[in-house]
Structure formats: C-alpha cells, structure tokens
C-alpha cells in the first residue's frame, strides 16, 4: 500500500487544512533519504521545496486557493530545468549548470501548487533503456537490486515505485517513460506529440520527444496531464488541450475495438511476457471492448528507422554543448579547436558520442538520402499504417518491452541488444500517438507492463481505457 493518497485527495486535504504542504514535503524527503540505496535521485531540492511548501500553507491559511495540486510533492527527471536548481541530464558536460529559467511543465505544475522535491537519475541525455548510461551511477530496480529499472526515466520510475513522491515526470523519446514503468510496476504515460510543451526540457530527439508522467494510478497521471497539457507560445510544436480535460476517465468502452498488434508477438519476446499480455487482453473485455488482431507490416523496421532519425536529431541537438557558454569546459585547451574537442571529448559519455557519430554519419552529404531520407519515408509509411489501423480499431495493444527487467550489465557491452529494449515502444513516438504502460502482473516476481495506444489527440479515451483496465488487470 502506498503511503500517498490519490493526488486529487491529497491536494484537497491540503487545501482544507487537514494536511500541510510542509508535512508532505518532509514525508517525501524522508522517504528519499530512507531509500538512498536505490540511487534513484541525483539531487534533492530540500530548501527550495520547504520554502515553497511554507508559502503554499500560508496561502491556504490566508483563505486563498493554492491550486489543484496544492502541496503535492513530485520528482522531476534531471533533464527538466527547474529554476535555480542544478540540471545535469545525468551528463558530465552539464555538471555545475544551474537552470536560469524553468521548464513550462514545471511552471504549470508549480502554478497549481505542486512542489518539486528532487531530480531523478536517467541515462545521460536520456540515451538508454536502463539508466546504466548515466554518467553518475546506475539506479537499482526495487524488485531486484541486481536488475536495471529500465530507462531512460529509470530514476523517476523507481522514485514512484518506492513511494518517494505521489508522481514523477519523465520524458519519452522512444519509450523512456513506458519501459521503466513496465520494469518497476507503475503507470507510465506518453501523451500525443505536442500536447505538453517541451520548452525547458533538455532535448533528445525533438521530433519524438514528449513529456511523460509516472504515478501509481492512471487517475493520478490523468490529473497531472490535465495540468500540463496545452498550446504554449514557447514551443511551436504544441497543440491545444482537449477542452473536455483528461480527468473524467468515464468514456464508455462498449462497442470500442482494441487491436492486438500481431507483429509484437512470436518474434522472440519472452513467452511468459507474451502470455501475460494476451491474458491481460482477455481481461480487458470486462470494460466492454472487443479485442481483435491487427497487423502493422512496417512495425518490424520501426526500430531501425528510430535509430537513424533519433541519432540524427541527437547529433544536432547536442551541438550546443560545446564548452563555450555553460557546463563543462576543458581547462587544458590552448585554442578553439582544442576547446571544442576536449570539452566534448571529456564531457560526453560513450553513448552520447556513439549517437553523435551515427547521427553525423547519416546526415552527411552522400549518405543523407540512403539513411535519413529513407528513414523519413518509412516513418511516413508507418504513420499511414497506424492511421489505417485506427480506421478499424479504437486502440492498439501489446507488450511494452519484450522482457522483464534485465540484469545490470547484461546489455551494457552490446549497444544493439540495448536498443532492442525499445523495439515495442518506438513506434508510438515515430507516429506521435499517445501510449501508456499499465501494470499487467508479474513474471517470475518481476513486473510486466501492458501497452495501450490510441490515435493522436485521443489521450482522454486512452486514459479512460487504462483506468478502467487497472481494476481488472492485477
């Protein structure tokens, strides 16, 4: 049982004076301190959080509203800029960087009274599926400390699983919110591309990056989404929020169709995981949905497409980390060229360098058409197939990952094997549709997540299905 009430109830009790923001923040900080051994957190923002908590309690004492998330503590992945706080993206090149401005997502949460208590570990620059690519340390899976928590939002997922806060923020570029949610057994939601402003979040691959939310229940995730969603004048790719909001979760599922994705089964995934997901699909019928099988023939190459487009964008987005204006700069460089090569050579970890090199290669003149352009063409084909599939079904269903949490070190010397951990999650990012991971049960004592997807902008319906499924799944 969680020590936290549902987020809506927490906020209500804080507003009503039955709980205080100060007490909630202390509770979160104490839990973080008690669970240090799992290495989920890079930095706690104790003073900042306590100051905000006092201000919120004072607001309420003065008879004013402190917002829909009044006093609710949360943890942000360390690629979110939180004003005045260190922001590293778990990379040495950003060590010592204090955010001079703040992510819009954080801004919106704080405006409703939420309090950021800590920054969570991740694979550096969100490159990875295990947090092993963090330049600082690897986060441990609460179910088995010899296993990874998934990634790249591994720290955020573990923070939620260990009850450090009622919810955490992640990012999802190729599965980075859903896959760790699946590995630790919490809810991880990736909204429609553009639904939440990316402003103030360290970019990985801009065309697939979304802000994700992790919590114990879909209802909690929906409330957090409701606060963060909407068009933003600091991010030109944002879209309007659903005017009906996301918290109702009451969409009637009778007559709706869920498509079981054929290509995600029988292709080398753990048979026990496949069996659990198929049985979860059966249980889903209780909500009123019909389950059918659908085929998306281009899906098997989605991972290849992703690992061309994503490094291309990564190589471009990481250009600004050049040691000239902020973060790590080489002290031994004697000229500009050396300053660039040494700052980047020392500051970036192995995986960042690997992606920069792959990305630089696929964008080079002479290779652009064969790789980048071809990958974009296949991406368009994939989008068309999803659109086509969504003319016959309302949702898509499959596993989140082919396995349960793997052992620390099992994949770390084999980048291709590591990339395969994303094989079932990248498609939703390439297509820009919302997707969610909800706990479906355990295999050998380790959590397995069920992945549900919906058409673009059908976030509210997807959350409703997930919420209605939660009751019957575990």
């Amino acid at each position: 049982m969680s020590q936290w009430l549902p987020i809506a109830d927490l906020a209500q009790k804080v507003q009503a004076g039955e709980l205080t923001a100060v007490a909630l923040v202390e509770q979160a900080l104490a839990t973080i301190a008690a669970k240090q051994e799992f290495k989920a957190i890079i930095v706690t923002l104790s003073e900042r959080a306590r100051t905000r908590a006092k201000a919120i309690d004072a607001t309420i004492k003065a008879g004013q509203s402190a917002g829909r998330l009044a006093g609710v503590p949360f943890i942000a992945k360390d690629n979110f800029l939180v004003f005045g706080a260190a922001t590293t993206a778990a990379s040495n090149i950003l060590k010592g960087f204090n955010a001079p401005y703040q992510a819009v997502a954080i801004e919106k949460l704080e405006a409703e009274g939420a309090i950021c208590v800590a920054k969570a570990n991740l694979d550096a620059f969100a490159h990875g599926a295990s947090t092993e690519n963090s330049d600082f340390f690897t986060t441990l899976n609460p179910h088995d400390k010899t296993r990874v928590p998934g990634g790249s939002s591994g720290g955020s997922a573990v923070a939620v699983a260990l009850d450090m806060a009622p919810f955490a923020l992640g990012t999802d570029t190729g599965g980075s919110t859903r896959q760790p949610a699946s590995f630790v057994g919490c809810v991880g939601f990736k909204p429609t591309y553009g639904l939440i402003s990316r402003s103030g979040v360290v970019a990985m691959a801009s065309s697939t990056d979304v802000i994700g939310a992790l919590a114990r229940t879909t209802a909690d995730v929906a409330l957090v989404l409701d606060v963060m969603a909407g068009k933003d004048n600091l991010d030109g790719t944002t879209i309007d929020a659903d005017p009906a909001g996301y918290t109702a979760l009451t969409t009637d599922m009778h007559g709706k169709k869920v498509g079981l994705i054929k290509e995600y089964f029988g292709q080398g995934a753990d048979p026990a995981v496949e069996a659990l997901i198929k049985s979860a699909a059966e249980k889903l019928k209780v909500t009123g949905v019909e389950v059918v099988e659908v085929s998306l023939p281009t899906l098997p190459v989605a991972l290849a497409v992703y690992y061309i487009l994503c490094p291309a964008e990564v190589s471009s987005n990481l250009s600004r980390y050049d040691g000239q204006r902020f973060g790590f700069t080489s002290a031994s460089a004697t000229d500009l060229e050396q300053s660039y090569t040494q700052s980047r050579g020392v500051g970036f970890g192995k995986e960042a360098k690997r992606r920069i090199m792959i990305g630089t290669y696929v964008l080079s003149s002479g290779y652009y058409d064969a790789y980048y352009k071809k990958a974009q063409t296949v991406r368009t084909k994939l989008i068309n197939e999803f659109n086509e599939a969504f003319t016959t079904v309302d949702f898509l269903l499959g596993p989140v990952a082919p396995t349960t949490a793997f052992k620390i070190g099992a994949n770390s010397n084999d980048p291709l094997q590591m990339y395969l951990a994303d094989v079932m999650t990248v498609a939703a990012n390439l297509v820009g549709v919302p997707a969610i991971s909800v706990p479906a049960g355990l295999v050998d004592g380790l959590p397995v997540g069920l992945q549900l997807m919906a058409p673009q902008r059908a976030d509210a319906a997807l959350l409703a299905l997930a919420a209605q499924a939660e009751a019957v799944l575990v």
């Binding site: 402003s199 471009s316 000239q324």
Partner: protein, 489 residues
Amino acid sequence: MTEPAIRATYVTTIGIECHVQLKTKTKLFSAVGNDAREAPANSLVCHIDFGMPGALPVLNKQAVYLAVKAAFALGSTPERFSKFDRKHYFYPDLPKGYQITQFDQPIIGQGAITIDVDGVTKTIGITRAHMEEDAGKSTHPAGKDYSLVDLNRAGTPLLEIVSEPDMHSAAEAKAYAHELYLRMRYADVSEANLFYGNMRFDVNVSVSQTNELGTRTETKNINSFRAVEKVVEYEVSRQIEVLEKGGPIVQETRGWDDAKQRTFSQRLKENADDYRYMPDPDLPPIVLDEAYIAAIKAEMPVMPDEWRSRLSSLGLSKSQIDTLIDAQVELSQEHYLELLEAVLGDVTLAKQLANWLVNIDVPYVREHELETRPLDRQALYAAVSGLAADGKLSSTGAKALITDLLATATLPADIAAYAQAKGLVQESDEGAIAKVVKQVVAENPQAAADVKSGEMKAIGFLVGQVMKLSQGKANPSLAQQLIKKQLDI
C-alpha cells in the same frame, strides 16, 4: 594592367547574394528586441538566442509577413509551403551549433526584377530567397589571447536573396544592388541601412573567354553600392591578369579592403563544407493560405520600375526620375510619389509638380536635414498650383512661396492670403498696373521713345521699372502688354 583589347575578349559573369535584415520588432525565433544598433554587447539575448539547454525557437509571424511582401517586391510569389532547416557548424558566435535557415524549400522561389543601366532596361533573375537567423558577432582584439562574442545580433531575421548570374558588368552589379535596396525599402520590409549592415552583398565574379563559366570568387560582406561596383572592377582585372599570366583562378572566399580598394583572399574553398542540413524538428513548416497571400498582395505599394515608367511618360529626365525614386525612400516621410500619383491624370500639372519637387522640395529637405516634417504637402501644392494657374504666382514667386512654406512648421489656413501678405502674389489687376505703367512711361520719356522707335530692348527696362514701383508684385507679362498699349505699338 592588361590591354583593353585583351580585356574585351573576356566575358564577365556576376551573381549576387544579398542578406537583408527584416524589419521586425523582435528576433526571428525569440521575443527579444531586434535593434542592436546602440545596444551594449550581449544585452539583447534570451535563453533562446543563447542556445540554453531546453530552449526552443518559435517563429516570429511578422518575419513571415515581411518575407511574403518581399516575394512580391522581387517579382516572385510566396511559396504556399516552406520549411526551416538546420545548417551545422561550430563557431563561438553560433550558440546552438547550427544556424536555422531554409535549405531546399525556401519561402520565395524564382522571380525577376528589372534594372536600368544608362537608360537601358535589363531583367535580372532571382533564383530564390530564404529566411534565416543571423549569427552573433565575433571580435578578435589585437595582441590578446582571447576573442569576444556579442550575441545581440544572433537570431536577427534575415532574408537571403540569391540572383541568377545575369549581370555582366560592374555597372549592372551596382544597379542590381541599388534596385534591391529600393525594392526592400519600397515594400517596407527592411530598414536596409547599409551603414548598420542591414543589407550586405556577397559578390560572385568570374571571367571567361569561352561559353563556359570561369572559376568564380566570392567577395563577402560588401556594404555599399559603390563597393559592389569596385569589387567587380577589381576582381575582373585581377582575374584576367592571373589568366593572362597562365595562372589558375582559385575558387575562394575573398574580402574587400575599402582603404586599399582591393579584394584579398580569406579562405580557400577546396572542399565543400558539409553542413549536414536537416529539417528543423522544432519548427512546423510554414503553410500559407491563399487569403493571407492575397491580402498582402493587395497592400503592396507600387515598385520603382513601375514608377519609372509612369514618370518617364510625363517626360521627366532620367536624373529627375532618379531623384524622385530615391527621395521616396531616403525622405520617405514626405511621400513625394503619392503626391504625384494623385495628379498623374493632368500631365501639365503633374510635370509642374514634379519640377517643384525635384528642384525645390527635395533639395530643401535634403539641405535642412528635415527628418520628419508634418507638413500637408497635398494642401501646399494644391494651393501653389492654384495660385500659379490663376497667374498670381510667377515662377520665382512660386519658388519663394514653396520654400517659405517648407520652412514653416504648420501651413497657414489661407495660403493665398499668406502669399499676398508676404508680397509674393503678382498684381494682375489691369487697372492698378496701368496706373503704374502710366507713371513709368511719364518718368522715362527717353526709354519710351526708344521703344516706340522699335528699340525693343528698352521695353525690358520699362518693365523693370514697373516691377520696381510695384514692389515686384506686378505680373511682368501683363506689364509688358500694358506698356505696349500705352505707347500704341
């Protein structure tokens, strides 16, 4: 210096790339002020211009509006679909490590403009024009082991206009550069202040004795029309000299030394740089709808070539036309061409007004450096031409009255009365002048006798006396008639 006869065997080919700073309030992708002219270094910089982690560009709609206007001004039409791309290279004045520009789908496609060189009209093709952000400014203090970067200019919206290699002489290159300037000013898309670098030219020059183009050099960042001309002249001479000595022309970037009046080698272009262009995923494509484009097209002002043809149909000389065309933008607040436009139907009146503007108004404003004079010129010239038509103003009187009124801050309510009071109106009342004539003839019997005996020179003396007595107010031609009448000739 190579012999002119040998020089004549070479054909020069010139293409020009021009960077124009768009006249927006804020930068292309951030809400920071765009006018860096007097700002302290790095005072116009936000997290977006600085390339902070997590900062995203957001397109300035005003820049798109101005680019659409520029499309029409360049004899083109705006593209319904265009997009932004990233051009990658590392330099300290490029904070993101890439410049946001438009690579293969620019907002402005093919167009053409006409230039006028020594009375000959020529069409110069526009290949394309695209929007991009400017970089910051690097300075390298002499003798120091550091460089300085000012990011005020980083993110300033530019339009890069690429011409076809359609120019073949220094004069054509200069005329093209000047015509671009005029068009950007007429369309009001740029301040186009060359001194402040609002408009910069990259001049590509090659020479060849065959039908194939020669190897070209690109002389960058030229900021005056005169220098554009000089660069072409210098490069043509230099390249011919090199070729005549059997040497090759090296494809390279050159700079212009204005003090020494010569170009110099800056950077060899042996290997093309690989900028790894890719579509910018942070910026959705620009999709323009027909109604938006049509509305902007409808508000486009008349371009200089159209004005040239209208003014030459009035019979004005080329230099008069040039004065008016230039004054329209240099002294834009006076709206000279709009004044003329209103009377174009009446050729005599239009011509008279054009003369007043060219000979009196423009020189007066230039001389007195009147930057903003809220004077109702329409009322002024309506009154002056009315008085002239009624014979109440001599040409001298008209000039005096116009000059006098230009000097006043506000126009008098009754200009005719004002002219009268100032003594600028000529007397056309026969009775009054006849009285003076009578007196003059009586007082100058000798002159009168001379006139009578056919010595017509003397009539000038008598008219002069009439003018003197009437304190210059008499209509001189009427005075002459009346003198003749008085003397019965």
